[in-house]
Subunit: 393 residues, 2 copies
């Protein structure tokens, strides 16, 4: 391709205009952030929740309409504003949160030295609660740490949860809320009710401790005893922007068998399979469609995290094991269809599932399309990054 | 929570300031888009590619630095600018693309009436090529349609690809480039070389026809014959912003067995499993972590798309079938570990895979974290949307 001086200069001038606009954008973001800081301070003082979904919806609808009038794609302004709001939630947290509890009771985090413990410690501290950690090596001081506590939150590996609860028996202040964040709920909740006569509530955070903030994060919530006395804790979660979703302990454990145990197990087996097939990942990555790259991402993130956590979730769920067994049998049946080339049988089953999914199939398609577009926005650096890091000695 | 008039007004005033800033943002986007339009016109005139990765990298690095200086998170400005750039690529295409071919040869799309055909038709037309569709019902006019063609691009179901190629034998202009977009490459490429003495090239778009644009889309590229005579086609793909990745046909077909056939088959089986388990999807969605929701998204998008396409990909790949068989055997072995509660064996295998993945595990974790954050940005509407649509009579 031939360039001539004149048009290069023309292009450069236009690119300078783009750069100026983008610097204006930075300026605008900085100013907007200052206003958000003032809103945050006001919300903290007023005790309003960080996340105001109604206000958000109204605001987004208005901006979409105005954008369309100006010839700007409504999807573009919505995506950008949602991205800015995520940043704002984080900023709001930096200035503290309102305390939902009537008093600044001490909060004891049992097993609080881990990642999830740090996340809770940070949030309770930012809400004005003194936080005390009762981890493995602190049991000699347990009575002292538990003295006067308003909340005792147990977050220890599944395998030792019941034992740790037994160790707490007879040591908890009568009015303290006893709560846990174990990833199963039936057994821990029953044991909590057994060892403590006061308010009891079961929680299960549906996210990892690497979460950037609690805004828009889901907690499973299983009421135990004295919901009124536990309500400040639920309010506090909402103030942090989280969604507690109430569910029966037995339903929770059944669902988690599918959502966590079985899926993590299948992902684990798939990672092992890639290794046993001696898959050349660089080769695969070069040709990956965004969707497959996302699937590799799911596998990679499992193996990048704590093996014990996954072992806990998988081996702790009988439901997951039963589901995995039935999935395996179904896989065998479908493999017969694959091996015999029975395309008609495949198409018949395909139609049945499509029918069963109903309108959700299209919802999922649209959702994942949007996400794949976002994944593609960063495709170049991601590809380069993977190759570069992998190539490192 | 008690409100008093004064602070409500204070909050309202601050929110007005946010709204004003967001309207300024819309204005800025509209102005920026005008400049992009002028750049697009200049690029088309000059024949420069839409996608300029080097310029992008330099620009993003500068904006990140300036943002940090202003107290704006560098990740925030990068995410926003990447999102804006995606929009710009689309805008650039609206004003046409430079033609890479030395002449405005007619392009014949064999099987061009489908979604992928429309995508190519739109792009070739926007690049100044007359486009002719040769679909199932047009074979009586085939000779007329093929007359003077500079490119004959075959995109028909795998099952009929070889037959369609046979039908083209002896009908192609000597100098025309013969290309295909079949999702396997060995057999079609061999047949193309057999039926045509002129330039031949195999392509496989690694994306679906719902793609918003070709910017940053990957094509597998298998050279066939006379690469020099085919080079304009590759240049044209690059002008559209796509990445052709060159690969041996046999390697391509092996990789696609893993990337497409086996994975689609596993996803298909998992969808069937969810149905057979009579999974209550509303219940599951309410409690889903973003990662599981993403997995549901993968399943939903498969069943929302053309069953024949998936049947083609799955049944067309012997490699996929062999991989599925070995995956199934491995699953059985691991199920034994699950059933016997052999946690130590699980942890040992976990460590082996983690080791094998090396630094890629962390790369994948970071990537998928970023993507899950984006998924969460839209969590509320998505949940509401799914429930609403599903609840419709």
């Amino acid at each position: 391709m031939e360039n001539n001086g004149k048009s290069d200069r023309e292009l450069d001038l236009l690119r300078d205009e783009i750069d100026r606009a983008d610097r204006e954008l930075i300026d605008l973001l900085a100013r907007r952030r200052e206003v958000v800081t003032r809103i945050a301070a006001l919300k903290t003082a007023r005790g309003l929740p960080v996340y105001a979904p109604d206000r958000e919806e109204v605001m987004l609808r208005a901006r979409r309409r105005e954008a369309a009038e100006r010839g700007v794609h409504p999807e573009l302004i919505e995506d950008i504003l949602r991205r800015i709001m995520r940043d704002s939630y984080r900023a709001e947290g930096e200035h503290g949160y309102r305390r939902a509890a009537p008093e600044a009771w001490p909060v004891v985090l049992v097993g609080g030295a881990g990642g999830m413990g740090r996340l809770f410690a940070r949030h309770f501290t930012a809400s004005g609660h003194p936080v005390r950690i009762l981890d493995r090596d602190d049991w000699s001081r347990a009575d002292e740490l538990l003295d006067g506590a308003g909340l005792v939150l147990v977050g220890v590996p599944i395998a030792v949860t019941l034992d740790v609860l037994d160790d707490l028996r007879g040591r908890l202040p009568a009015g303290a809320v006893l709560a846990d964040i174990t990833s199963v709920k039936v057994a821990p909740l029953a044991r909590m009710l057994e060892i403590h006569d006061g308010p009891v509530v079961g929680l299960h955070p549906m996210f990892g401790h690497s979460a950037p903030s609690l805004a828009k994060q889901v907690f499973a919530h299983c009421p135990g005893r004295d919901a009124a006395a536990c309500s400040w804790l639920l309010d506090q979660l909402r103030i942090w922007g989280a969604f507690p979703v109430t569910v029966e302990p037995a339903v929770h454990d059944r669902l988690m068998g599918a959502i966590q145990a079985q899926r993590h197990f299948a992902t684990f087996v798939y990672g092992l399979h890639l290794m046993e097939e001696q898959t050349d990942l660089d080769e695969v990555l070069a040709l990956s469609s965004p969707i497959y790259r996302l699937e590799l991402g799911m596998i990679g993130r499992l193996f990048a995290q704590a093996p014990d956590l996954y072992a806990d979730i998988i081996f702790g769920s009988e439901v997951g094991r039963d589901l995995a067994r039935r999935y395996h049998r179904l896989f065998a049946r479908m493999l017969d269809i694959y091996e015999s080339g029975d395309r008609a049988a495949f198409l018949a089953d395909f139609a049945r599932v499509k029918d069963w999914l109903g309108p959700l199939a299209d919802v999922f398609l649209a959702e994942s399309d949007a996400l794949l577009d976002q994944a593609r926005d960063r495709l170049d650096i991601r590809a380069a990054g993977a190759t570069r890091r992998r190539g490192d000695p």
